[in-house]
Amino acid sequence: MVIRALLKRNTYYDSITLMSVAQAGKDLPGVEDAGAVMATEVNLELLQNAGLLPVAFLAEQQAPPGPEDLLIVVSAADESHAQAALAIAEERLNSRGDRATPVGATTLPARSLEMALQRDETANLAVISVAGEHAWLEAEQALSHGLHVFLFSDNVPVEQEQRLKALALSKGLLLMGPDCGTAIINGTGLGFSNVVNRGSIGIAGASGTGMQQIICLIAAAGLGISHAIGTGGRDLSEAIGGVMMRSGLELLANDAQTEVVVLVSKPPAERVAHEILAAAQLDKPVVVVFLGAASERFATVAGKAHLERTLTGGAELAVSLAGGDRTRVPGESTLHKDESRLAAEHTKLAPSQRYIRAFYSGGTLCDEVMLLISEQAGAVASNIPLRPEWALAAGETFRGHTALDLGSDEFTRGRPHPMIDPTLRLQYLTRAAEDPETAVILLDIILGFCAHQNPAAVYAPAISQARARAAAAERSLPVIVSLCGTEGDPQRLSMQRKALEAAGALVYESNEMAARAALSLVSKAASGVIH
């Protein structure tokens, strides 16, 4: 009979683990007894009384074990059995993280990443949507498991974003986000996404609704999408440096299905823009939409990349480069179609009706509208102003031309996003309709997965009532809708359009055209903006 031991200094396991380790040792053939105890004075005495005290082992120790040390002792028939028992004990201790999870109840949702991976080891992408303060922990864990990450959560500190993206980069993985609203990977939509055919145009974007707009316009032209990779809105900032935009670009460059690449973002930091453009010198065409940035700004560094300043312009060019018919993109032609209607609405406006009032759910679409309006009509007051002096003051609802991003944090804290819940926007619509200075109300309505299941059913009656009340006050009240969606979306583009038009709204699938239509109503010459 031999007694062998293992001493683990300052090591703590819960009682259940210690019991199971001791029991596992006892159950082995050739083992007479085993114990796993904290090496307190009385426990050493207890081992002595049990004939288990490893006297020689303890004598070999430089310092005697104490209450904070774990002592595992085995009494076995011979050396080999004793060593085998200690090896198993150690293995048990080291594998204490292994938790057998019953998988019988497969209908229950997985409550952790580990549980999800146990159910499907082939998964290679994690979609994370938890409170922002905890999101980085989940994302880091997913990346550590070798998963690409679609990080829907916002409010992730920029330092954590830097860390996560560095980790993703080191592992050759994508970290889409944080605050990533949209992606389509291998034909599967993530977050707010639209139903489109697979095709030859690949997109990487730091703008969720910007990508949705381009995707839907491409779909309207009959073409499809290979992948749409979101990067998160801050990716092209100086702090993040466009890390994921470059990763996405590289993936699309190497993707055989992708023949044309579109990059979309709000105007990036200057240095980052240069780096992105340098990376965009591919053998396949690359269309770069730095929203609102004049082509001349980056002309010297654009090289082979095609610069476009609006989403519609980007979509048209991509369609053209992919061999499609750019006139099928619902752009300028749709505006001409409504020319007489717009002119008629213009003539019916009262002298006090001078301003555009835009209420948006998509931040990028709101940005685009503000850029286009400000170029033609000057200041646009907003909660996300293009210039600091255009910011709405606290308690101020409208000031001249006004565009609100109702999807921004101050409006969504404690309530659903306006793409899902129209309540707040309907309130603004009513207030704008009652304001005698409102010339035109401009809304975006975004279709697709995760969005409201039938927005026209909510907005059409509200538009109809607002127009009727204005008419009763002998005013015209044009309402323009920027409708972003596809025929394949659950809400069906054509049905939504029909219902909104029946309520008297002017509907455009291009956000740019919606903005230009609104501008035509506040310009001195009704047709001044159209041409």
């Binding site: 300052n10 090591t11 703590y12 396991y13 819960d14 009682s15 259940i16 210690l18 019991m19 001791a22 114990g35 796993a36 105890v37 904290m38 307190t40 004075e41 009385v42 426990n43 005495e45 207890l46 009384n49 049990a50 209450p67 904070e68 993280g97 938790r99 952790s112 938890v130 303060e133 905890h134 980085w136 922990l137 989940e138 864990q141 500190p157 920029v158 330092e159 954590q160």
Partner: protein
């Protein structure tokens, strides 16, 4: 930038740690749903998932926060506590206390009416209830000889523990501090578990002495000092975690389920089901820690009952022990 985690609740005794100036500490031990943190003055703080019951030294987090946080921690990591937060430097994380009031780990014993005979009946019922439990780890095999007058199986553990438990009860009844200290010295750190079985039994016993001796001692004498003596003697002889929990017990500060159980003893005999339910919640804690704590509490209640000298519960073990062992 530091990421802030807001605790869901916290125990009153740890509040000063957060309110004082910053002091250093280290991660002592990490478990799946709990982490122990020891400060430079040997105070120990437990950060738990709120799936676990409150402890007298705990700060609790939501399960998802706790699970993901604890996964990243390793023993030995440096922390700072004070100025309103617990800062885990390596991960740039700070735990803040919520603005809600602290949880009080000392049950409000005086708010209840205590019937001596009622408690005695609960204890009898509980002794049989515990004897029927299938899980028999730790000191569980000592229940029958201690509380039901049945013979003990002679194992190395029972031979060491049983006489000392008897000594503890009898010396406490007689307010013989030397006897209490001798028993505590031989029980502290004894047995399996991270908080060895002897410590759990001592903690249960000390809590009863501190909290219930004024209400339930048949001689109406408070036995606060016995609880203090137990914690003091045990401190250098057992694990740091056990020592901290014993110190709390000596102040009447106990885990949530232990406090609930003690208060349930004030219920009338007709409400015995509720008492058993409260006992089961104590039993469910740890591998054998809950059972050992419960054993210590029942032994303490018996000691206060004065039945210690009437025989019946304290049979011979065959071992030559201290003068009080019959």
């Amino acid at each position: 930038m530091t990421t802030s985690l807001l605790a869901t609740d916290y125990s009153r005794p740890i509040q000063p740690l957060f309110e004082q100036g910053p002091r250093a500490g280290t991660i002592h031990s990490v478990f799946r749903k709990a982490v122990n943190i020891v400060t430079s003055d040997d105070t120990m703080l437990a950060v738990l998932s709120n799936e676990l019951p409150r402890m007298p030294n705990s700060v609790r987090l939501t399960p998802i926060m706790a699970e993901k946080l604890l996964r990243h921690l390793q023993p030995g990591l440096e922390i700072w506590i004070g100025d309103g937060r617990l800062l885990i430097l390596a991960h740039d994380l700070a735990i803040h206390l919520p603005e809600t009031s602290a949880w009080e780990p000392r049950p409000e014993i005086t708010a209840y009416h205590w019937g001596h005979e009622t408690v005695a009946q609960h204890v009898r019922l509980l002794a049989y209830h515990l004897a029927e439990q299938q899980h028999r780890g730790g000191f569980a095999p000592l229940l029958e000889p201690l509380l039901l007058g049945q013979p003990a199986a002679e194992t190395p553990l029972s031979l060491m523990a049983l006489p000392m438990l008897r000594l503890l009860a009898q010396a406490s009844w007689l307010q013989d501090i030397a006897g209490v200290e001798e028993a505590a010295r031989r029980l502290a750190g004894l047995g399996p578990g991270l908080t060895p079985a002897g410590d759990d039994a001592l903690a249960g016993f000390a809590a009863v002495m501190k909290l219930l001796s004024p209400q339930l001692s048949v001689d109406s004498a408070s036995r606060d000092h016995i609880a203090v003596a137990i914690a003091s003697v045990a401190r250098p002889r057992t694990t740091a975690l056990s020592a901290v929990l014993l110190a709390h017990a000596a102040r009447g500060e106990v885990a949530e389920q232990v406090g609930d159980f003690l208060l349930s003893l004030a219920l009338p005999v007709e409400a015995s089901k509720a008492v058993l339910h409260a006992a089961d919640r104590v039993l469910a804690f740890g591998s054998s820690s809950g059972g050992d704590t419960l054993l210590g509490m029942l032994l303490g209640l018996r000691a206060l009952d004065g039945e210690i000298d009437k025989g019946g519960y304290y049979g011979h073990t065959g071992a030559a022990q201290a003068k009080y062992v019959l």
